[in-house]
């Protein structure tokens, strides 16, 4: 699936235009529409932008929250990107993160009274990845062996995951005596340390926020994904399959096994959201913690052009929008937090479906005569 690469390039653009200018024009178009919408509801865009920037970067607390939101976006952006590179479209990040949370939570609930904290944390992270991978493995198997399309099946799996989690939380995992559907709290030793605590131990004082070590895990995952995709033979085979499945078969790649590998990796990365949210912040299993991050990952991956570095940058932008947008909604009640959702939708539209819209304009400006 050529989501990023152009289908027909009659007048090729210079490489720097292709990599830098075209994506920026796409993002600019998306934000132009955001500006028009803001104007329609009577909000001064520049004033709002100023408030948003202050809300996102104005203090060490707000920077902390920006990075905490970015952590989720990095995980789901990477998840979507790994599948993209294999020519697969994983829309199931939402469900995979949710079930990853189940694995993460079950591991802690089962072990936190018996094993030392750090060991429980490592096992819980592995469980989150394993459960997320397993939830992605079924649609992968269905595509690889039974020929059903992964787009449809992953959508359905999101709904099944949600129903399953509601059932388990309400009937099985609910803490005794609790009025809301949430599990018992994790033992304190089995929680990911907050960034504030970590920085304090090396003598740096920052305000407390939701930022925790999962952010470091997200950055490490980005590096790992880069190494895997561009520096290993499996990653090469995976990308080959995404570019040209027939060439991959000719080169001896098993499409079935590569589909499974790509989707399992994708699901495992989506499970990272659970690590950040449950191990890092809530310290218990709660309902609805994926809160749209799985879908937002599509916007992040498209904006970051499926490259880990681009994804980290796009995730920072979306994290800033999420945090700044929350602050903004206090100042200007008309600017609800859902404005961020609108931006995500527009970014997917302009960086994804309409990615080639500005191409003729740029070709007129920079195109080589062929």
């Amino acid at each position: 699936m050529s989501l990023v690469a152009p289908r027909s390039v009659r007048r090729p653009l210079p490489r720097w235009v292709e990599i830098a200018v075209l994506p920026l024009v796409n993002v600019a178009l998306a934000f132009l529409v955001v500006g028009i919408i803001a104007r329609t509801i009577g909000v001064d865009s520049f004033h709002a932008l100023k408030l948003l920037l202050v809300g996102a970067f104005g203090s060490s607390e707000s920077i902390g929250y920006t990075l905490y939101y970015a952590t989720n976006f990095i995980f789901t952006g990477l998840a979507v990107a790994v599948a993209f590179h294999a020519g697969l479209f994983n829309i199931g990040g939402e469900g995979q993160a949710y079930i990853g949370g189940l694995g993460c939570g079950l591991a802690v609930l089962a072990l936190d009274r018996y094993l030392p904290g750090p060991l429980v944390i490592v096992l819980a992270i592995l469980a989150a990845a394993a459960f997320g991978a397993a939830w992605a493995a079924v649609p992968a198997w269905m595509q690889a062996w039974r020929g059903s399309h992964i787009v449809i099946t992953t959508i359905m799996f999101n709904f099944v995951a949600s129903a399953l989690m509601v059932y388990l939380m309400v009937n099985v995992l609910i803490a005794p005596g609790s009025m809301t559907a949430q599990s018992r709290g994790f033992a304190e030793s089995a929680s990911l340390p907050s960034m504030q605590a970590v920085l304090k131990s090396i003598g740096i004082a920052v305000a407390p926020s939701a930022l925790n070590l999962a952010f470091v895990l997200a950055l490490l995952s980005s590096v790992a994904v880069w190494i895997f995709l561009w520096r290993t033979s499996w990653g090469y085979a995976l990308r080959t399959m995404g570019h040209n499945a027939e060439a991959a078969i000719y080169a001896g790649t098993s499409i079935r096994r590569m589909t499974m590998l790509a989707m399992c990796l994708s699901g495992a990365l989506a499970g990272g959201v659970a690590v950040n949210e449950l191990l890092g912040v809530h310290h218990r299993i709660v309902l609805d913690f994926p809160a749209g991050y799985g879908f937002a990952g599509i916007a992040v991956a498209l904006m970051g052009r499926s490259h880990p570095l681009g994804i980290v940058l796009a995730a920072l932008l979306f994290g800033a929008l999420q945090q700044g947008g929350a602050e903004l909604s206090f100042e200007i009640p008309a600017m609800t937090r859902e404005m961020v959702v609108v931006i995500q939708g527009l970014v997917i539209l302009f960086c994804g479906a309409l990615a080639h819209l500005p191409r003729p304009w740029l070709q007129a400006l920079f195109g080589r005569r062929g």
Partner: protein, 306 residues
Amino acid sequence: MEETLTFVTLTLAATLRVATPLVLCAMGGLFSEKSGIIDVGLEGKMLMAAFFAAATASLTGSAWAGVVAAIVAAEALALLHGFACITHRGNQVVSGIALNILAAGLTVVLGTAWFARGGQTPPLNDGERLKPIFFPVAGDNVLVYVALLSVPFTWWLIARTRFGLRLRAVGEMPLAVDAAGVSVAWLRYRAVLLCGLFSGLAGAYLSIAQNAGFSRDMTAGQGFIALAAIIFGKWRPFPAFGACLVFGLLDAVAIRLQGVKVPGIGEVPVQLIQALPYLLTLFLLAGFIGNAVAPKAAGVPYEKEH
């Protein structure tokens, strides 16, 4: 005896009430998919239509103005989908997802800005809603009958007219249609517009007939259930209609089964019944119950050779 009869009648009426938006949406989706344009954005179109229907009905005091606004809103998104997928040959799934997310955000943003009720529209009074025509208990408003008529209409249009023949051809092999001198793009645009019309009606039904106003995310996955019904009906109108009724019945039964012990099985979790449409579709897609074959050219942008 009479009690059983009442129970059956009420359940059937409830089924029809729940199935109406699914049927409308599924028929709309059928046109789009038959022409080769995958539409995972049914949910978003329906949501946007529901919002504009309720907002307009509340501002003008007329239910019919609401219906018109719903159609216009859904058509706007449909045209955007067409512009991205047909004109610019963008990825159809990406475009559909974008429209879903856009609708989920925009309805709340506009709703909050215009009505300041946390994304809801003001509650509608009876004059601003579509009212039942014959049986007040059953809730048989005009859109229920439109939904029932939409099925034979869709069948007739797709199976018995020249437009339908070309529509099917363009979903299977656009090159042949192009070679015959018929515009692929214009055919697909018409299919997408028909899809917008029906999903607009489905949205209007949700907010100004079934309910009295718009609330955030009120479609709650029904666009995807309609998509599941299309697959379950193997891209044919009457089987898809049947799937909508089954899914509607499941929903109607789920409410009644809450906390009831079924003999021999015990208490059936409501969540299981709610997930059944998806689970059944997944079983179908895995090839355990028959085979679902989509139109061949679905999802593939058509590029004219110059």
